[in-house]
């Protein structure tokens, strides 16, 4: 395979690509139906526009939410298990230091952050992807408390019981949306990362090509 395309390198393994796109679908359904569920009893002085929601009414939204949760959890478990077991997380997301994250974020804001070799994540990316994984875990755990406040009441103690878990779930959703927005903006700024998420391969970066 690589012999046929000598100028490309493997960037994303198949497991990462497939779980990424399954997660896109699952998170889209979870967020859109979640907004409809939120609207039935809003925590704050606003509701989500109905056209942005999924399910039509509360029961429909709940059906979507509790169906897609299996997709999200299954895909998430495959991704995290693979990430830990294969060393993918260790190789791609570590090491990470606050100083490096700060340096790369400020560089990115000045438009000076390079992402030439798609195989290597800069510190800002590492922080973003690690955060997304942690946020997803918080979403699943707070979701469990909301779904089964009695059966998972021990877990609920860590997030202020049922009512506290509603806020945890909401803010974790907001954090995930923020991640998605930044993530998509970054893809738009470095468009050649997009096909890589489908094919798994990228051109050999200029620096590496010479050697």
């Amino acid at each position: 395979m690589s012999a046929a395309r000598p100028n490309t390198v493997r960037v994303h393994p198949l497991v990462v690509r497939s779980t990424h796109w399954i997660n896109v679908v699952a998170i889209f359904i979870m967020v859109a139906s979640g907004w409809r569920i939120y609207n039935a009893s809003p925590l704050f002085a606003f509701t989500f526009p109905k056209d942005w929601t999924l399910g039509g009414w509360l029961a429909g939204a709940l059906q979507w939410h509790f169906a897609a949760m299996w997709l999200l959890v299954a895909s998430g478990l495959v991704y995290v298990t693979y990430g830990i077991a294969s060393g993918h997380f260790r190789r791609k997301l570590l090491p990470i230091t606050p100083a490096a994250v700060w340096r790369d974020i400020t560089a990115a804001l000045r438009g000076k952050l390079a992402h030439d070799d798609l195989r290597v994540y800069n510190a800002a990316q590492r922080a973003a992807y690690l955060s997304a994984i942690l946020i997803a875990i918080v979403l699943v755990l707070s979701g469990l408390v909301l779904w089964k406040p009695v059966q998972f009441s021990t877990l609920g103690l860590f997030m202020g019981d049922y009512e506290g878990a509603r806020y945890v779930h909401f803010f974790a959703m907001a954090a995930l949306i923020l991640f998605v927005i930044v993530h998509v903006v970054m893809v738009l700024l470095v468009p050649r990362t997009l096909p890589t998420m489908f094919t798994g391969r990228a051109r050999v970066p200029p620096a590496a090509e010479g050697g």
């Binding site: 859109a32 039935a40 999924l54 009414w57 509360l58 709940l62 059906q63 979507w64 169906a67 019981d161």
Partner: protein, 255 residues
């Protein structure tokens, strides 16, 4: 059918919602799937929408089984001090407060049916005389998301079921109510120690809006699963469904 459609107005919480909600539910397929259809099916036909609907219902039945498996008969819902009680406690039903049924205490009779040995009906004084009477201060969680803490008193439903010789190996217990509401629960939840046949709310005879003369109080299930104004209880192995459950709310709806 006309009866049911007309009964579909109003939210579970009982706050008056615009009539549009009623129409909305009838347009469940078309409107409900609009965003999903656009995004996932890109111009799906009605058949696709129906197929999708079937998948969602199948997943809901799967979730019933998962919840029955997760349900731990020995795990108790958290109880709270009386100082934590929510005042005023929200009224909730599928109709507005002015439609609350007026049940006559003197002529009231609780009918029993299905897989029950003693099918004789019960009067209110007989029910009130049942022993032991217990109380609980627990959180009522609505399917809409809000919750409120209240105090209910009555007899353990498991004691009552044993007393009337119900088949405790049967799958379901069904309820019919004076307000035409109906629902059903699984036997393990019916036998849970915090499942009460409640006659009192906040130490008073159950007020009409909260289900006079009796309500099945289950802190291990969402609010809509707790029937009020119960007039008939039956034990069965045939799935009885429920008012909201038949419209798409998850049947088990355990907490």
């Amino acid at each position: 059918m006309t009866k049911r459609l007309s009964g579909m107005q109003g939210s579970l919480k009982g706050h008056s919602r615009p009539q549009i909600e009623k129409i909305e539910r009838r347009l469940f397929l078309r409107q409900g799937l609009s965003l999903g259809a656009l995004a996932l099916l890109s111009g799906c036909s009605v058949t696709d929408a129906e197929a999708l609907q079937k998948v969602l219902w199948t997943m809901s039945r799967w979730n019933d089984r998962v919840q029955a498996w997760i349900f731990d008969s020995d795990r108790l819902a958290p109880e709270f001090p009386e100082s934590a009680i929510t005042m005023p406690f929200p009224f909730n039903a599928y109709y507005r407060m002015d439609k609350v049924p007026a049940v006559d205490a003197a002529s009231y009779k609780l009918e029993l049916g299905g897989l029950v040995r003693e099918k004789r009906s019960w009067t209110l004084p007989e029910l009130y005389a049942l022993k032991p009477q217990v109380s609980q201060v627990t959180r009522h969680i609505c399917v809409e998301g809000w919750s409120a803490i209240g105090k209910w008193s009555g007899v353990r439903f498991s004691d009552f079921l044993k007393r009337v010789g119900a088949d405790l190996t049967a799958k379901y217990v069904g309820f019919r109510c004076a307000d035409k509401y109906y629902t059903s629960i699984d036997m393990p939840t019916a036998l849970h120690s915090q499942t009460l046949l409640a006659f009192r709310f906040a130490d008073q005879i159950l007020p009409a809006p909260f289900g006079f003369p009796m309500k099945l109080r289950m802190p291990t299930k969402l609010g809509f699963k707790n029937p009020k104004h119960i007039v008939a209880i039956f034990v069965t192995n045939e799935y009885p469904g429920g008012y909201w459950e038949d419209q798409g709310y998850n049947w088990f709806s355990g907490s």
